[in-house]
Amino acid sequence: MTLALDLLTIVGVSAGCFFFVAGTVGLLRFPDALTRMHALTKADNLGLGLIVLGLLPQAAGLGHALKLVAIWLLAQVSAAVASQLIAGAVLRQRSAIWP
């Protein structure tokens, strides 16, 4: 049972790290703000989500597990709002240049 839980952790955290690396590569390689943000949201959303999922079996109790999920949810909210704000700023800037 412990082995299965540890395996779940290894798979979850590794997959999460993969999405973080992929998101970072996208951030560095993609041509403009909107596509770069598209790459970053994958890291924030899937990457952190998978890492939290992988860490859940290692939590000391229900309280710890809920805290981990709360961290993921808060990061989700902040990422969603921040990307909306940045996208809004990009659109305003574009319409200022090409009205």
Binding site: L74, V77, S78, V81, Q84, L85, G88, R92
Partner: protein, 311 residues
């Protein structure tokens, strides 16, 4: 594994520090400084100083970052017209900084082993105060005078910021960031997040007696939530002349001072607590201080009055 993590963390912090100094755009430098503060907070966690890590993240990175961002936004229009400092100035600043760094490094490396410490003495006498967190013990029992003066300095700093206002606008309303624009997403966040953030701020203040946390960390969270609400336009910034606002500003330091002065009568010394009442008095003082710190930091970030108060 842990060593590898620590080394890469330290390396990243040094690289980020160097980048913060050499980048020309003030805005980018401030952003790098905020990330730098968060990484330094991680280092404090690795050194098992969770109290310091929380303070660094909340104050060193968060509130200072907000202050610097608003300063950068104010400076932006004139930034390109100011000539960069000459080579002589840069060299002089570099030499002074290098000497300070070398001095600090030498002190850290030349410490006798084991380093002189009062920690065992402090830990041995902590149970008398009824507190469980040794950091709060040092802040509110052994060095309470420093803590009191620190809160007074904070209010003085705010007076300094307020006095930048034009005479006829004294007591008026701060303008906050110059470049804010209403956005429904931000409004949504400002309505959703404060419920979580305020609870966390109160929890940090409450748990500070026994676990990492305390008035400054809790107060910084209150500040963050208040700034979010003001920036999103959900609630307007208050007029700096409001009597209730000014009472809130001094409530914490005043209550702390009253507790300290009553120490003469009930425990025989300034800032001494009578046996058995240490913890309740400290928790009450911390509660009031959290509120005052939250309001003071928020108004520091909001800046001087730039609009007249509505009659």
């Amino acid at each position: 594994m842990a060593l590898g993590f620590d080394i890469s963390l330290a390396f990243l912090v040094v690289v980020l520090a160097a980048w913060t100094i050499q980048v020309h755009d003030t805005y980018s430098a401030v952003l790098a400084f905020v990330v730098f503060g968060l990484l330094v907070a991680l280092i404090w966690v690795r050194l098992a100083s969770v109290d310091v890590a929380l303070t660094e993240a909340a104050i060193g990175s968060g509130v200072t970052g907000a202050l610097l961002l608003s300063a950068a936004a104010l400076l932006r229009p004139t930034e390109s017209t100011v000539a960069p400092p000459g080579a002589a100035w840069c060299t002089a600043a570099g030499v002074v900084c290098a000497i300070i760094t070398a001095g600090l490094g030498a002190i850290a490396l030349l410490l006798p082993d084991p380093a002189p410490t009062l920690a065992p003495l402090a830990a041995a006498n902590l149970p008398q105060s009824g507190l469980g967190n040794p950091v709060t013990g040092v802040l509110f029992v052994y060095r309470a005078l420093d803590t009191l003066l620190e809160k007074v300095v904070l209010v003085l700093a705010l007076v300094g910021v307020w006095s930048l206002a034009v005479d006829r606008l004294w007591g008026g309303i701060p303008a906050l960031w110059p470049a804010t624009c209403p956005d429904s997403t931000l409004t949504f966040l400002a309505q959703l997040l404060p419920s979580v953030g305020l609870m966390l701020g109160i929890y940090l203040c409450w748990t500070g007696a026994d676990h990492p946390g305390g008035a400054f960390q809790g107060g910084a969270l209150l500040t963050a939530m208040w700034l979010l609400v003001m920036l999103a336009g959900v609630r307007a910034a208050p007029a700096t002349g409001l009597l209730s606002l000014r009472l809130l500003l001094v409530a914490g330091p005043t209550l702390f001072l009253v507790i300290g002065l009553s120490g003469f009568a009930i425990a025989g010394a300034f800032l001494a607590y009578p046996p058995g009442y240490g913890k309740p008095l400290i928790v009450v003082a911390e509660g009031a201080l959290t509120l005052s710190i939250g309001v003071t930091l928020g108004l520091l970030a909001a800046g001087p009055a730039e609009r007249a108060r509505e009659p």
